[in-house]
C-alpha cells in the first residue's frame, strides 16, 4: 500500500498526532488517578495507619511482642471472647428465625403473606441502639416496666428477665439483624426454579423429603451468605453491647475500643490497644467478606431464575392460625413494643412515672426541637453531615464506579481492589483510622470538628454508593454511550446526556442509602464527636448515659419519625424506577 503522503496528508497526519498526544494523558487517566487518590486518602490510609500503629513500636520498628502482650491481657482477651460469643449466638438465632420466617412467607399458605413479608423487614429501619434502650426501659432488673409489672402481679422480688448481660445482648441484636437472613433466603426461595421441586413431586416424593433433599440444599448458599452478613455486623457492633453490656462490665471489641479511647483521652497506650483490636476486626471482616463472595458465586449457578413461578405451597391446616398469631406476636413484641415504648417514655413528664395519659406531655419534644441548644445542634449536625456526606459520597462513588465498570484504562485493578475495602471495614475501625489520619499527622487537623465526622462518613458509606451506582451503570450498555460519541458528542457530553440521566435512579437510591443510616449513625460518631459536634445518635446515647432517659427517648422518637418518612420516600423513588423499566 502506498505510504507516500502528499503535503496535505502529512499536515493532517501531524495534526492528528498532536491531538492524540494531548489526549494520551487525557480525561480517562485523570479521572482514574483522582478516584484512586480519593479512595487512598479516605479509606486506604486510615486502615494502613491502624495496622502500622498496631504492629510497629513508637520508633517505627516491627513488633509483634506488644501485640501478643495486649491480646493476652485479660480485658482484651475477654472482649475478644465476648465479641465472638455474641456473634456466634446472634448468627445462630438469626439464621433459625430468618430461615423459618422466610419459608413461612414464601412456601406456605400463611394468610397476609405480602404484608407479613414487609413487616419482617421493618426491624431494619429501627436503629438497634434505640431498640436496646427501649428494652432496657422495659426489662432492666429494677425499674424495667415489664419486670415491675410482673413483680407486682406475682408478688416475687426477682426480676422476670434481666436484659443486662450476654443473653440480653444476643437476643436484642438478633431482633434487628435477622432480616439479613430473611431477605437473602426469601429472595432465593422466590427465584428458585419450581420445576425441580415439581419433578420430584411428580415422582411421588412427599413434600418433607423434597424440602430436605432439594429445596434446602438449593438455598444453603443464601442461608450461609445471610448468616455471614449477620456475623460481620454483630462482630463489630457497638450500639447494643454499649447499652446492655457496659453497665455490667461486659465489653466486646468495639465497646472496649470506645472505652479505651474515651477514658484515656487518646493516650498512646489506649490507641495502641485500639488499633490492635481494630486490626483483628478488619482481618476477620475481610475473611467473612471473602467467604461470602465464595458462597454467593457458587449459589448463582444453583438457583435458576424462573420468573413466572408458582411454587408448591405447604398447607398449614391446623397450624395456620397459630403460626399467624405467632408471627404477628413476634412482630408486635420486637417492633411495636419497643417503638411504642420510645414514644411513650419520650412523652413522660418524669422518668419512672407509670405510663398513663395524665403523666404525658408534648413539652419534651418542643423543648428538644426548639429550646435546648444541645439537641438542636445535634439534629442540625446530623442533618447537615448526612446530607453532605450522602451527596459527596454519591458523586464520588458514581465517578469511581464509572471507572471500574466502564473505562478501559490501565491500572484499573488498583481501583477495583481499593473499591472492595470499604465493604469490609467496620465503623469503629473507620473512626479510629480517621483519628490517626486527620489529627495533624499529615498537616491537617480535623480533630473535634465536624470535618472529621464528615470524612469518616464518606469512608464508611462509600461501599453503599459503589454498590448502588455500579449496579445502575452495569444496566447501561456501552453502546448507548458509544452511539452518542458517534453522533459527535464528546466523552463529557455523552456522560451528561446519556449516562447520567440513565443512572439517576441509582444515584438517588445511593443518596438515600447513605443519608438514612448516616442520620442515625452512632458507632463512628461516638468516637469522633467534639463538644459542639454531637450527632443525633451521640446525643441520644449521651442523654441515656446521663440518666436523662426521657429526653433521650423524645429525641429518639424524632429520629424514628425522620427515618420512617425517609424510608417511605426511598421506597416511592425506587418503585417508580421499576415502573419505568
Amino acid at each position: 500500500m502506498g505510504m507516500i503522503q502528499t503535503g496535505k496528508n502529512r499536515k493532517n497526519l501531524v495534526f492528528s498526532k498532536k491531538v492524540a498526544d494531548l489526549k494520551k494523558f487525557g480525561a480517562a487517566e485523570l479521572v482514574l488517578i483522582l478516584s484512586i487518590i480519593v479512595l487512598v486518602v479516605v479509606v486506604a490510609i486510615p486502615i494502613l495507619l491502624i495496622f502500622w500503629n498496631a504492629f510497629t513500636t513508637a520508633d517505627g520498628k516491627f513488633n509483634i511482642k506488644d501485640v501478643i502482650w495486649i491480646l493476652s491481657k485479660p480485658e482484651t482477651y475477654q472482649a475478644l471472647l465476648n465479641s465472638v460469643t455474641i456473634a456466634l449466638g446472634v448468627t445462630m438465632l438469626s439464621t433459625i428465625l430468618g430461615v423459618f420466617f422466610a419459608w413461612l412467607v414464601t412456601r406456605t399458605d400463611l394468610p397476609f403473606k405480602g404484608a407479613m413479608k414487609l413487616l419482617f423487614i421493618v426491624p431494619f429501619m429501627l436503629p438497634s441502639f434505640i431498640g436496646a434502650m427501649a428494652w432496657k426501659i422495659l426489662l432492666s432488673p429494677r425499674g424495667g416496666y415489664i419486670n415491675v409489672f410482673f413483680k407486682n402481679l406475682l408478688g416475687i422480688d426477682k426480676p422476670l428477665f434481666n436484659i443486662y448481660g450476654m443473653a440480653g445482648i444476643i437476643i436484642v441484636e438478633t431482633m434487628y439483624l435477622f432480616p439479613f437472613v430473611f431477605l437473602q433466603v426469601s429472595g432465593a426461595l422466590e427465584r428458585m426454579d419450581p420445576t425441580l421441586e415439581e419433578s420430584a413431586q411428580i415422582s411421588g416424593i412427599d413434600l418433607f423429603t423434597i424440602t430436605r433433599k432439594i429445596t434446602f440444599p438449593l438455598i444453603t448458599p443464601s442461608i450461609i451468605a445471610g448468616a455471614l452478613l449477620v456475623a460481620l455486623y454483630s462482630l463489630s457492633h457497638f450500639g447494643v453491647p454499649a447499652i446492655l453490656g457496659t453497665e455490667v462490665g461486659i465489653y466486646n471489641i468495639p465497646t472496649l475500643i470506645y472505652q479505651k479511647i474515651y477514658a484515656s483521652a487518646g493516650s498512646f497506650e489506649a490507641i495502641r490497644t485500639g488499633t490492635v483490636l481494630a486490626s483483628i476486626l478488619v482481618i476477620s471482616a475481610a475473611i467473612i467478606m471473602y467467604l461470602q463472595n465464595l458462597v454467593l458465586k457458587k449459589g448463582r449457578y444453583q438457583i435458576i431464575a424462573g420468573k413466572s413461578m408458582r411454587p408448591m405451597l405447604l398447607k398449614l391446616r391446623g397450624f395456620k392460625i397459630p403460626l399467624l398469631i405467632f408471627s404477628i406476636l413476634y412482630i408486635a413484641v420486637t417492633v411495636l413494643l419497643p417503638t411504642v415504648t420510645v414514644f411513650l417514655v419520650g412523652a413522660l413528664k418524669t422518668y419512672g412515672l407509670p405510663l398513663k395519659h395524665k403523666h404525658m406531655t408534648l413539652e419534651n419534644f418542643k423543648y428538644i426541637l426548639f429550646s435546648w441548644k444541645m439537641t438542636k445542634d445535634a439534629i442540625k449536625n446530623s442533618v447537615v453531615l448526612s446530607l453532605g456526606a450522602a451527596f459527596v459520597t454519591m458523586l464520588v462513588g458514581t465517578m469511581i464506579s464509572y471507572v471500574i465498570v466502564k473505562m478501559k484504562v490501565k491500572g484499573k485493578f488498583i481501583l477495583e481492589f481499593l473499591g472492595m475495602l470499604p465493604f469490609s471495614v467496620p465503623g469503629t475501625v473507620i473512626a479510629l483510622g480517621v483519628i490517626l489520619t486527620w489529627s495533624g499527622r499529615f498537616g491537617v487537623n480535623l480533630y473535634n470538628t465536624a470535618g472529621i465526622i464528615f470524612v469518616a462518613y464518606i469512608a464508611r458509606y462509600m461501599a453503599f454508593a459503589l454498590k448502588s451506582t455500579s449496579a445502575a451503570l452495569e444496566q447501561v450498555h456501552d453502546s448507548l454511550e458509544e452511539a452518542s460519541r458517534s453522533c459527535g458528542a464528546t466523552h463529557w457530553q455523552a456522560l451528561k446526556h446519556i449516562v447520567l440521566p440513565l443512572i439517576k435512579p441509582g444515584m438517588v437510591a445511593a443518596f438515600f442509602l447513605i443519608f438514612l443510616p448516616a442520620l442515625r449513625e452512632l458507632t463512628t460518631s461516638v468516637l469522633l464527636y467534639g463538644p459542639t459536634t454531637r450527632t443525633i445518635g451521640v446525643a441520644i446515647y449521651a442523654l441515656n448515659e446521663d440518666g436523662e432517659t426521657v429526653y433521650a427517648m423524645a429525641l429518639a422518637s424524632i429520629a424514628l419519625v425522620i427515618i420512617v418518612l425517609g424510608e417511605i420516600l426511598i421506597r416511592k423513588i425506587t418503585s417508580t424506577k421499576e415502573g419505568n423499566g
Binding site: 500500500m1 502528499t6 496535505k8 496528508n9 493532517n12 497526519l13 495534526f15 492528528s16 498526532k17 491531538v19 492524540a20 498526544d21 489526549k23 494520551k24 450498555h477 453502546s479 448507548l480 458509544e482 452511539a483 452518542s484 460519541r485 458517534s486 453522533c487 459527535g488 458528542a489 464528546t490 466523552h491 457530553q493 446526556h497 446519556i498 440521566p501 440513565l502
Partner: protein
C-alpha cells in the same frame, strides 16, 4: 466524501487474535459489505473504524487523514471521525423519545433549530416511523427501534456510515424496503457505506463490493457480488454464498469417477486441471437438471419437498446425497416431476472446480 483504508490491521484481545493483518480499501461512495459467519470479527472491525477500539497493529485512514495508528500511537476519538453508526443492538436511548433520539446528532452539531426539526422529520419519514415521534423506545418493536437507530445515523448526513446488521430484525418485506432506502441514500448523498451482515442475500443485493470472511477472521475474497457469485475463490466462498453440492471426484484411467467408488460421472474437469488426480466439483441445487433420458448418471430420489414455486429434492448418487431444485411450473409442463423412491438421471450445468482437500493433503 471519503474512502476508508485499513492497512495491516490486527486486533488481539489478550491471547485471542480476532483480526490478523487485514488490508481493505473501501472506495469513496461505495457500499462495501463485510460478510462472514457469527463471531468472525465483523463488529470488531466496525468498532476499530468508528474509533471505539484501538488496533493492536496497523493503521486506519479515513479520507486522507490517519485516524488510528498503533505504531505512531495516534487515535482520533470517535466524535471527531464524523461517522454515522447503527449498532447491532440498536443502542436507542431509552430515556429519549423517537424524535429526541433522531434530533440528537443535530443538536450536538448546533444546527439551526428549524433546519434540525425539518431534517429530523425527514429522516423519521424516510425510515417509515412517521406518527411514532413521541413514543419512547420501550413502546416500539425491535424492528422499529432498529429504524430509529438508522434514522439517527443518517440524519446528520455523515460521509461514512457503519451499519452493523441493521436489518436483521425486520420482516422480509420491510427488509427489502429498507435495503432499497439505504441504497437510495447512498446514491443520493454519495455516502460511503460499510455494511456488516451474515446474510448473503442482503449482501448480494446491496453491495458494490463484498469481503468474505471465514470464521478465523481472514478475508477469503473481495469482489463485486456477481464476481463472487460466479467466480468464488475457493470452496469456502462457494459454500458461503448459498446451498451447495460438493462432489469429490477422482480421475482414474482417464475416466472421472466419484471418489473411492466406481460410479462414473459425466463431468470433465476444466483443462489445465487435468493433472490433478482428485478434484472437487461444486454446484448449486438449480444447476443440476433432473431428466428421464439416460445421461450416464443415475440417482435415486430420497425425498421430495414442495416449496411452492420450486420443488426441492434429495437425491442419492452412490453414497453421496445431493440437493437439487427445479422450477415447479417447468417440471409440470415437461412431465419431469419425480416421486420418492423413483430413479432419475442427472445433468450438470455450471460446475465450479476446486482443488480437493485430500489432494492438498496428499501433496503436502
Amino acid at each position: 466524501m471519503a474512502e476508508v483504508k485499513l492497512e495491516n490491521i490486527s486486533k488481539h484481545y489478550g491471547e485471542h487474535r480476532v483480526i490478523e493483518n487485514l488490508n481493505i480499501t473501501v472506495k469513496e461512495g461505495e457500499c462495501f459489505t463485510f460478510l462472514g459467519p457469527s463471531g468472525c470479527g465483523k463488529t470488531v472491525i466496525l468498532r476499530l473504524i468508528a474509533g471505539f477500539e484501538r488496533p493492536t497493529n496497523g493503521e486506519i485512514f479515513i479520507g486522507s487523514s490517519l485516524v488510528s495508528s498503533a505504531e505512531q500511537k495516534i487515535h482520533l476519538p470517535p466524535e471527531e471521525r464524523k461517522i454515522g453508526v447503527v449498532f447491532q443492538d440498536y443502542a436507542v436511548w431509552p430515556h429519549k423519545t423517537v424524535y429526541e433520539n433522531v434530533i440528537y446528532p443535530l443538536k450536538i452539531q448546533r444546527i439551526d433549530k428549524n433546519e434540525a426539526k425539518q431534517r429530523t422529520m425527514q429522516a423519521i419519514t424516510q425510515v417509515g416511523l412517521k406518527g411514532l415521534e413521541k413514543r419512547l423506545p420501550y413502546q416500539l418493536s425491535g424492528g422499529q427501534q432498529q429504524r430509529v437507530a438508522l434514522a439517527r445515523a443518517l440524519v446528520s448526513k455523515p460521509e461514512i456510515m457503519l451499519l452493523d446488521e441493521p436489518l436483521n430484525n425486520l420482516d422480509a418485506k420491510l427488509r427489502e424496503e429498507m435495503r432499497f432506502e439505504i441504497k437510495e441514500l447512498q446514491r443520493e448523498i454519495g455516502v460511503t457505506i460499510l455494511y456488516v451482515t451474515h446474510d448473503q442475500e442482503v449482501a448480494l443485493a446491496i453491495s458494490d463490493r463484498i469481503a468474505i470472511f471465514d470464521h478465523t477472521g481472514h478475508v477469503r475474497q473481495i469482489g463485486a457480488p456477481r464476481e463472487i457469485y460466479e467466480k468464488p475463490a475457493d470452496k469456502y466462498v462457494f459454500n458461503f454464498m448459498g446451498v451447495s453440492n460438493f462432489i469429490p471426484l477422482e480421475i482414474k484411467n482417464g475416466a472421472t469417477i466419484i471418489e473411492d467408488s466406481n460410479i462414473p460421472v459425466a463431468l470433465q474437469p476444466p483443462t489445465g486441471k487435468k493433472e490433478a488426480l482428485r478434484m472437487l466439483a461444486a454446484c448449486r441445487p438449480f444447476d443440476i437438471e433432473l431428466t428421464r433420458e439416460n445421461t450416464g448418471m443415475k440417482g435415486e430420489v430420497k425425498r421430495v419437498t414442495f416449496l411452492g414455486a420450486t420443488m426441492d429434492y434429495r437425491i442419492n448418487l452412490g453414497e453421496k446425497e445431493l440437493r437439487i431444485q427445479q422450477d415447479t411450473q417447468e417440471a409440470l409442463q415437461n412431465n419431469l416431476l419425480f416421486k420418492e423412491g423413483e430413479d432419475c438421471f442427472l445433468k450438470f450445468h455450471n460446475v465450479a472446480w476446486f482443488e480437493s482437500q485430500s489432494v492438498e493433503m496428499g501433496v503436502s
